[in-house]
């Protein structure tokens, strides 16, 4: 038979027809339909292929718990793994099924089902062990193609936003309990936020006709009245289409709102809003989830959870099948039975696993009166059919099997309170023997559970329960009398799996439909020793799919506890972790994507660099010129050689604005600087500067820079470009925590000054032309001194310092004047062939001079002694950070890695950065025993001024190896490059250029 319209009751708008496609074929549905309800309306039962065996699958549920019907939305940037039971249709929507080839109906991958003895529990771990190399070349590509879910999204650009809320009470779920709680809180002193995952409120009231009347009012009218009262209230807000995905510490909840539920996505707007909610009290009224029962072929299209079938009838107004078979072990299916009878579609059979006593006289009389074939103490043995349910086998008494023809089977294995959020909040759950499920016990946070999530399945008692649990709040004194259409007796009988026969390889009884785990896999895993539930889950992949086993995880506990002969409470549950349901990464990322992912910092000269063909590199968040192209065809190597040569011949200029700058002021600034840095500052003259080192307490170099001393109460220190925030934070930390008695203020002034480094033999001439009022002669402006004066109506500071080994100056000026000054320098500098250079030339030039770069020569394991920086250590100082560590037995070792220079013996060869320095001429192939290595190459460049490769290396006992011959490995082969160990200062070792 086929699907029919329920004309009596529906929440979809049947006057609004909507066209969409599924696997290329056009179908019609109504406004408000989900993909699933629309497909059922069109009698489409086969909607997916399963994860591992590629078995045909149908729609199993009517909500977030769906394990089968997950689809790809082609017109929403190819969004994969969407639940067809949640996603609403709209005009022009294009939907595809997943994990099938060439088509859903004829799927080649279903051969896996016949090979299934291979794919038992843990098959990945057992099967693909060898031969060597097969995994990478053969197994993995094949598995990746055939296993799994949808295809990745295309041309996706996230525009989701984050929104923060701070409220007194959050109500999760606008069902019966949630709405009654809300009504009692209308116009009270509390700020209340209601979160509802559906696009309408009402929950169970709309999903079924279990509740008849509230305060003598029709349920629908009551919902409408409630919605109106909430809307007009001053203190309650409802967010619909908002799914709470996590419940974190300190009553912090995350909810995901789908802003385009039931609408075509507008790519210029944000699709999702991530709500971050901080609340004082959390009311969980998020209901329950029905579970299934395992029997033979319990995955055939046509098998559906009973309450889901009921939801399709009442919520979507579609009766998926006119005469289904109902199989249950509890009384929650009574309303489904009655609904079908009322609609004049009697079920083909009613199969109840319970005895007559538990079923109750009332229901038995009803069944008899309506002439419905019913079987008590009976089970479904299994079902058969070609890609759909055709015949259903009912086991009556022990051995008698009756076959019934029907295309759908509604199963109810009981109800689980949806404790996911409760356990995420670290609440304790306990096993209830009567309800045969876990229910919340002791909350950890300010959490209240109401309704079925708390284990209260009796709707008549809802009002009393809420009064009781909310009595500590100043809630309104309004009572709600609830009339039900149903028995309030749940009367469940424990049943996890029915007795069934294996008829072929096709016969399978599933425990996890999403990941294709069978009950046999569970049993086998226990036999193999995985008897702890957490191990078992990972070995079998049970409940590890995107549905997280919402309809089956308790069932697996039931089955395992039977095998282990333990109580379920002893077996325990696996850990419930956020998120409750899959949420898109784009929602988490929010606006922090693409150009907003990480802010870019640009210097005031940036546009000039762009105009002059700079190639940029990222230094922290800074964009720094790496090198400048003289013409488009110039390679990086050519640019470097040109820039470095020119700088040493005439002059070069570097935009050093990114350099970290920290101002240190206060009565005790001198004492503080003496403690922070290795250098002694006491005898240093005012208006001079010094290269300074900062260590960690472990004695390792942390940062370096130049410290300018104005006087004993005022210093300015520069830091490395990337290290500035850390240095400032460290200074603050020591000031606050270790030396609070020191009166010192530290402040970042990195962006208050633009910095240029000009160097080269002609730099003095250029500076004299730009700053005509300053005397740049060596006597008046010696090395490592600085001057402050007025220029261009602002203050400028010029320091004589150099990172190239040439005569050099550093200019500091306010950023507003930066570009003008830069241009003025070029105006005067062009006569002297002034060249702009980038960070790579800076590195090359400093390497020629043997200057180190923190983070390149050092890596957090290098002391100043290792770099031969003994002269920088204020040995007479009583204390500074890291001082004691420099005499630790380990730091004082003589065979530590020390800084040396190396040059290839054959000057035409090039040494690569990062290569090992070894004593052997050749690396053995294959390597049988570890090759002892002495150290590594930290920097290497082709020096245009010496015309061969120069390199720096950190090697064991390097100071004693001067002049010896060693080898450096290469990426080209096993033959090593012979090198000579030399001093790391390759140019001007007497500092003649620097100080004259």
């Amino acid at each position: 038979m086929s699907a029919l319209d329920n004309k009596k009751c529906s929440y979809v708008k049947k006057n609004k027809k909507i066209a969409f496609t599924f696997d290329g074929k056009k179908y019609y549905g109504y406004k408000g339909d989900t993909i699933a309800s629309a497909l059922l309306r069109n009698n489409v039962r086969l909607v997916a292929r399963s994860f591992k065996y590629h078995r045909p699958r149908g729609i199993y549920t009517c909500g977030i718990e769906e394990p089968n019907a997950i689809v790809q939305i082609l017109n929403e940037h190819n969004e994969p793994n969407t639940r067809a039971t949640v996603k609403q249709i709209y005009d022009g929507m294009k939907v595809d099924s997943q994990n099938r080839w060439p088509s859903l109906n004829l799927d080649i991958g279903s051969i896996n089902n016949l090979l299934s003895p291979m794919f038992s529990a843990g098959f990945y771990y057992k099967t693909f062990m060898g031969p060597k190399g097969f995994w990478k070349r053969i197994y993995e590509p094949i598995i990746r193609r055939t296993a799994g879910l949808g295809k990745p999204p295309k041309e996706f650009r996230s525009k989701s936003i984050h929104q923060n809320h701070n409220v007194d009470i959050v109500i999760v779920g606008a069902g019966l309990s949630g709405l009654i709680a809300a009504r009692k809180l209308i116009d009270t002193e509390y700020d209340v936020l209601i979160l509802e995952q559906d696009s309408f409120i009402g929950g169970v009231l709309k999903n079924s006709n279990k509740v008849e009347k509230i305060n003598n009012q029709e349920v629908n009218k009551w919902i409408k009245e409630t919605e109106r009262l909430i809307k007009t209230s001053t203190n309650i807000k409802i967010l619909k289409n908002s799914l709470v995905t996590s419940y974190n510490f300190t009553n912090h909840l995350i909810a995901l709102e789908d802003k385009f539920a039931g609408k075509a996505i507008d790519t210029s707007k944000s699709e999702l809003t991530l709500h971050k909610i901080r609340t004082t009290h959390t009311i969980l009224a998020n209901g329950h989830i029905e579970r299934f029962i395992s029997f033979r072929n319990n995955d055939l299209p046509g098998v559906m959870l009973a309450s889901s079938f009921e939801k399709y009838i009442h919520r979507y107004g579609v009766i998926p099948e006119t005469n289904p078979v109902i199989f249950t072990n509890n009384s929650s299916t009574v309303t489904l039975l009655k609904s079908l009878v009322d609609l004049d579609h009697k079920p083909a059979a009613y199969v109840d696993a319970r005895d007559k006593n538990k079923i109750g006289k009332k229901l038995l009389t009803y069944l008899k009166k309506n002439n419905i074939p019913f079987y008590t103490n009976a089970e479904i043995e299994g079902c058969d059919g070609n890609k759909k349910v055709e015949t259903i086998s009912i086991r009556k008494n022990k051995n008698k099997i009756i076959k019934v023809k029907s295309e759908m089977l509604c199963v109810s294995g009981g109800i689980n309170p949806d404790i996911h959020l409760f356990t995420q909040s670290k609440g304790l759950v306990k096993w209830d023997d009567k309800l045969i499920t876990f229910k919340p016990d002791v909350p950890f946070q300010n959490t209240i559970t109401l309704g079925s999530v708390s284990g209260n399945y009796n709707y008549e008692k809802t009002n009393d329960e809420i009064n009781n649990k909310l009595s500590f709040l100043k809630a309104k004194n309004i009572e709600f009398k609830i009339e039900i259409n149903d028995t309030n007796n749940f009367n469940i009988k424990e049943l996890w799996e029915t007795q069934h026969e294996k008829k072929s390889n096709w016969s399978k009884s599933f425990i996890d439909l999403h990941n294709d785990v069978t009950t046999k896999d569970l049993k086998q895993a226990v036999v193999e020793g995985f008897d702890r539930i957490e191990h078992l889950k990972r070995f079998t992949t049970n409940s590890m799919g995107t549905d997280q086993g919402k309809i089956s995880s308790i069932n697996s506990l039931g089955i395992v506890s039977k095998i282990l002969k333990k109580q379920i409470s002893e077996v325990g549950t696996t850990t419930y972790r956020p998120p409750y349901a899959p949420l898109s990464f784009s929602a988490i990322a929010g606006r922090s994507t693409y150009e907003f992912y990480d802010p870019q910092r640009k210097t005031p000269i940036h546009n000039w660099h762009v105009d002059n063909k700079a190639v940029f590199e990222d230094v922290g968040q800074w964009k720094r010129p790496w090198y400048f192209k003289e013409h488009d065809a110039e390679t990086m190597h050519q640019a470097l050689q040109r820039e470095s040569k020119q700088t040493r011949q005439t002059a070069g200029i570097l935009d050093g604005s990114t350099l970290g700058k920290i101002e240190i002021k206060g009565k005790d600034a001198l004492e503080f600087m003496n403690l922070m840095y290795t250098n002694p500052f006491t005898k240093m003259k005012p208006m001079t500067s010094r290269y300074a080192l900062m260590l960690g307490e472990d004695g390792m170099i942390k940062d370096d820079g130049i410290v300018c001393k104005f006087n004993d109460k005022h210093f300015i220190a520069t830091t490395t470009s990337g290290g500035a925030p850390k240095v400032l934070a460290d200074m603050e930390e020591y000031l606050q925590t270790e030396w609070p008695h020191l009166q010192v203020y530290v402040n970042s002034i990195t962006e208050q000054f633009t910095t240029f480094n000009i160097s080269g033999p002609k730099s003095r001439d250029i500076m004299s032309k730009v700053f005509t009022e300053v005397d740049f002669s060596n006597e008046n402006f010696p090395f490592m001194t600085f001057k402050v004066f007025n220029y261009m109506d602002t203050e400028v500071r010029i320091m004589r310092a150099s990172f190239t080994g040439e005569l050099g100056y550093e200019i500091y000026i306010t950023p507003n004047h930066g570009l003008a000054l830069w241009k003025r320098i070029f105006h005067h500098g062009n006569v002297f062939d002034l060249v702009p250079y980038g960070t790579e030339t800076m590195h090359l030039l400093r390497a020629e001079k043997g200057y180190v770069v923190i983070g390149q020569e050092t890596d957090g394991t290098v002391t100043p002694i290792d770099l031969n920086f003994n002269w920088m250590i204020g040995k007479k100082k009583k204390d500074f950070i890291g001082k004691r560590s420099l005499t630790r037995s380990d730091t004082a070792r003589e065979d530590r890695k020390q800084l040396v220079g190396i040059i290839p013996l054959d000057k035409s060869e090039f040494i690569e950065e990062g290569q090992h320095v070894v004593e052997r001429e050749r690396i053995p192939d294959p390597i049988k025993t570890p090759v002892e290595y002495l150290g590594h190459v930290s920097s290497s460049y082709h020096s245009p001024n010496l015309n061969h490769c120069i390199a720096m290396a950190m090697i064991k006992g390097g100071n004693k190896l001067m002049g010896s011959k060693l080898f450096v490995s290469s990426s080209y082969g096993t033959k090593n490059i012979p090198v000579e160990v030399v001093s790391p200062v390759f140019i001007d070792p007497e500092n003649k250029r620097l100080i004259s």
């Binding site: 356990t423 304790l428 016990d441 549950t573 472990d698 603050e732 606050q736 204390d879 560590s885 630790r888």
Partner: protein, 116 residues
């Protein structure tokens, strides 16, 4: 994400703060008199208990002030927050149950979400 009550700014999200490890570890004066072992103890060793812990926090994306806190590391419950110049509160002021709400044992973790 837990809430931290900065003694200077008030209650803020954890993301505004950085943790500074164990509190009340004073930097030794006259370190030259310490042997390698004792100095190494100060530099490299910090406690990391399961249960009540005195630790340092800094409101790094706020007022940048350091302060101390007493936190139960197994429940993330912050029992006390106090300024650096305030006295260290005594341990017996706090009931150290050493038990998460899910009833984990003292050492190790496992599946203990179910009440026995």
């Amino acid at each position: 994400m837990i809430l931290i009550n900065c003694p200077y700014c008030g209650e803020r999200d954890q993301s505004e703060f950085s943790n500074g490890g164990e509190a009340h570890v004073a930097r030794p004066e006259n370190s030259e008199n310490l042997n390698d072992k004792d100095w190494g103890q100060y530099v490299f060793y910090r406690d990391n208990p399961k249960g009540i812990f005195y630790e340092r926090w800094v409101h790094s994306h706020g007022c940048r002030k350091w302060f101390n806190a007493v936190r139960n590391t197994s429940t993330d419950e912050i029992l006390k927050i106090y300024k650096l110049d305030e006295k260290q509160p005594k341990l017996d002021r706090f009931t150290n149950t050493l038990k998460t709400p899910s009833g984990e044992p003292k050492v190790g973790s496992g599946n203990f979400t179910v009440k026995k």
